[in-house]
């Protein structure tokens, strides 16, 4: 079981309030991703749940029981750190067995659980090595192994993939998702990378300056961002945000159109512009189009092999059905 409830939780460092009163419920078995720009309080929130920081006010309940004052070790949570935080002087086997040894399990049971974890994570051949002799991805797996042997109520991941290179990151992303499918344990995952959030989460929590901007499934956030911040944060490349005349025509202060919801054409369309930078990715091409009278370019997704180049004239037609409208306060107009 791993149902975690935050009830009006606040956190202040001295005079600075980093988390204003915040309510959140994480259901058992959910994969929840906290996402937001750096400094938005997502790691602090995770550390509050872990018990590594004391809350200033409010209550944290784990499976209905008040855990606000419970020390980290007694909360039944396991954490994977950004730096992996492996113990450098212990072998992989001892690293993974450490929480079991601290819990006073007998040797046979320790060995059995370490062996299981090593099988799951493909670490069997590395059990007698030191962390210093492993690659980044392997160290990451050891850190995960150390977390799963405890059979915790929930896993906490603090930006676990940010130290890996791009290819490994994609691989580890899949492995963590698979692990979640297999274990069905609650996982809370902190990242600043919206791609990780979109691909892994059952539920995304978008944070800004300690506030929850929106909670929802990846597609809910994609289809119906509640405000300008979420609209700009979720989706890659970013949504085009256009204000002024075009927005007024549609009764909004700002309108947002995703690059994939604009149809480019060489001869006819709503907006006329000039192609700036063209990013050819093979499967897709992203054009940065300069529209007359607008300082920021509009990003447009086109097919992979569209014959348009820098300086060409281009016409854009947004999909009116999929234009997001926002009012003067940046909130979505339904």
């Amino acid at each position: 079981m791993g149902r975690i409830t935050l009830d009006k939780v606040t956190k202040a460092f001295g005079e600075v309030e980093v988390i204003p009163p915040l309510d959140l419920t994480i259901e058992d078995g959910e994969f929840v991703v906290f996402v937001g720009p750096s400094g938005c309080g997502k790691s602090t929130l995770l550390r509050l749940i872990a018990g590594l920081e004391d809350v200033t006010g409010g209550q944290i309940r784990i499976d209905g029981k008040d855990a606000t004052a419970v020390p980290p070790a007694k909360r039944g949570l396991a954490m994977v750190f950004q730096s992996y935080a492996l113990y450098p002087h212990m072998s992989v086997r001892k690293n993974i067995a450490f929480p079991l040894r601290m819990a006073g399990l007998d040797k046979a049971e320790q060995d059995r659980r370490v062996k299981n974890a090593a099988d799951v994570l493909n670490l069997t051949d590395y059990l007698d090595r030191r962390p210093g002799q492993l690659s980044g991805g392997q160290r990451q797996r050891v850190a995960i192994g150390r977390a799963i042997v405890r059979e915790p109520a929930a896993f906490l991941f603090d930006e676990p993939l940010s130290n890996l290179d791009a290819a490994l990151r994609v691989g580890m992303r899949l492995e963590i998702s698979e692990l979640h499918e297999r274990l069905k344990t609650t996982m809370i995952y902190v990242t600043h990378d919206q791609v990780e959030a979109m691909t892994m989460a059952d539920k995304i929590v978008v944070l800004r300056a300690g506030h929850i901007e929106q909670v929802g499934s990846p597609l809910e956030l994609y289809r119906e961002p509640r405000n300008l911040f979420v609209a700009g944060f979720i989706g890659s490349p970013r949504m085009n945000l256009i204000d002024g005349e075009e927005a007024r025509k549609r009764d909004a202060a700002t309108i947002g159109v995703r690059p994939e919801h604009i149809t480019p054409s060489p001869d006819t369309g709503t907006w006329k512009g000039r192609v700036g930078v063209a990013e050819h990715l093979g499967s897709d091409t992203f054009f940065h189009v300069h529209i007359d009278g607008r300082s920021e370019p509009v990003t447009v997704r086109a097919g992979g092999e569209v014959a348009m180049h820098h300086g060409d004239t281009i016409y854009l037609t947004p999909d009116e059905e999929r234009i997001h409208r926002f009012d003067g306060k940046g909130l979505r107009i339904a």
């Binding site: 872990a50 590594l52 020390p71 980290p72 070790a73 949570l77 396991a78 954490m79 750190f81 950004q82 730096s83 935080a85 492996l86 113990y87 450098p88 002087h89 450490f98 929480p99 601290m102 819990a103 030191r130 210093g132 150390r146 405890r150």
Partner: protein, 292 residues
């Protein structure tokens, strides 16, 4: 250093320093070796001009056969070992304390380091006259305050007193090195251990202490080198009596008090051998600890 030319130029440029260093070390070593095979008693009229008598290994046999040789080796090891144990253990505890965020941290740290800047002679005199004096010393007041008879430290507990004085001098060094090591410990490791259910003491023994291993070996290595040759502290306080005659002090007495340069030189060679045995042991430990 890529080309033949630049390599020979580099050798040429380094030569003066290398020659100076070699001379600095080799000349005294060779002279010690030379004297140790000679009979050289200046008070009896021996001198270079008249030529020194070759006596073979007689000085070596006499030095080691003297009744004060083994006690002096014992005293040396006792003092070095005692100081090492005290400075390392207290150094770790102090380093952990100083690592805590406290008000006035900068000043406290400077105060902790201060004893290291006091000259050995001065600190030994201060300890002897202000702290350990059985009549006027601070410690005697403390003893009397509790109704006990003051201890005459330097005669009744002489070796312990020397260990205390030298430890006081070297504790700052150990603390400083260990403090920097503690500060380099990744705090996420401690947090991970906390999440893994390790209580404070387990965190210390499983995480902090292994992390300090390297720093501890460096402290032991450097201190041993210097502690084997402590002299001023003994000279100023007990003058080598009451079982505080170390190997270094014995050599000093042979050369200066007994005016027997040959015998003293033989002792010097023994000291070199002892220091090297210790060094080999230490290098093996350090090498094992540094190879990580």
């Amino acid at each position: 250093m890529a080309t033949q030319h630049s390599r020979s130029a580099a050798r040429l440029m380094m030569a003066p320093a290398v020659i100076l260093l070699l001379g600095w070390m080799l000349v005294p070593l060779l002279m010690t070796l030379y004297f140790s095979f000679k009979q050289y008693l200046p008070m009896r009229g021996d001198s270079f001009e008249r030529g020194l008598e070759w006596v073979g290994f007689e000085n070596y046999v006499r030095f080691i056969g003297s009744s004060s040789f083994w006690p002096s080796v014992q005293a040396t090891l006792l003092i070095v070992g005692g100081v090492l144990v005290i400075t390392v253990i207290l150094g770790i505890l102090l380093a952990i304390l100083l690592d805590q965020p406290i008000w006035g941290q900068g000043i406290v740290r400077i105060l902790v380091i201060a004893p290291f800047f006091v000259m050995p002679t001065v600190s030994a005199l201060v300890w002897k006259n202000m702290m350990m004096d059985p009549v006027n010393g601070m410690l005697s007041y403390v003893w009397r305050f509790f109704g006990a008879t003051p201890v005459s430290w330097l005669s009744d507990a002489s070796v312990e007193s020397i260990i205390l004085i030298v430890s006081w001098q070297w504790l700052p060094f150990a603390t400083l090195i260990l403090l920097t090591a503690i500060q380099s410990l990744d705090s996420e490791q401690l947090e991970a251990a906390e999440m893994d259910g390790a209580p404070v003491l387990s965190r210390f023994f499983y995480i902090v202490l292994p992390h300090l291993g390297r720093a501890i070996t460096i402290v032991i290595l450097i201190q041993t080198i210097f502690l084997l040759s402590i002299f001023a502290e003994i000279f100023v306080t007990t003058g080598g009596s009451f079982g505080t005659r170390t190997l270094t002090y014995l050599i000093f007495q042979r050369v200066v008090d007994s005016q027997n340069i040959g015998l003293g030189s033989a002792g010097g060679v023994y000291a070199i051998i002892l220091a090297n045995i210790v060094a080999i042991f230490l290098m093996r430990i350090v090498g094992k600890n540094l190879d990580r």
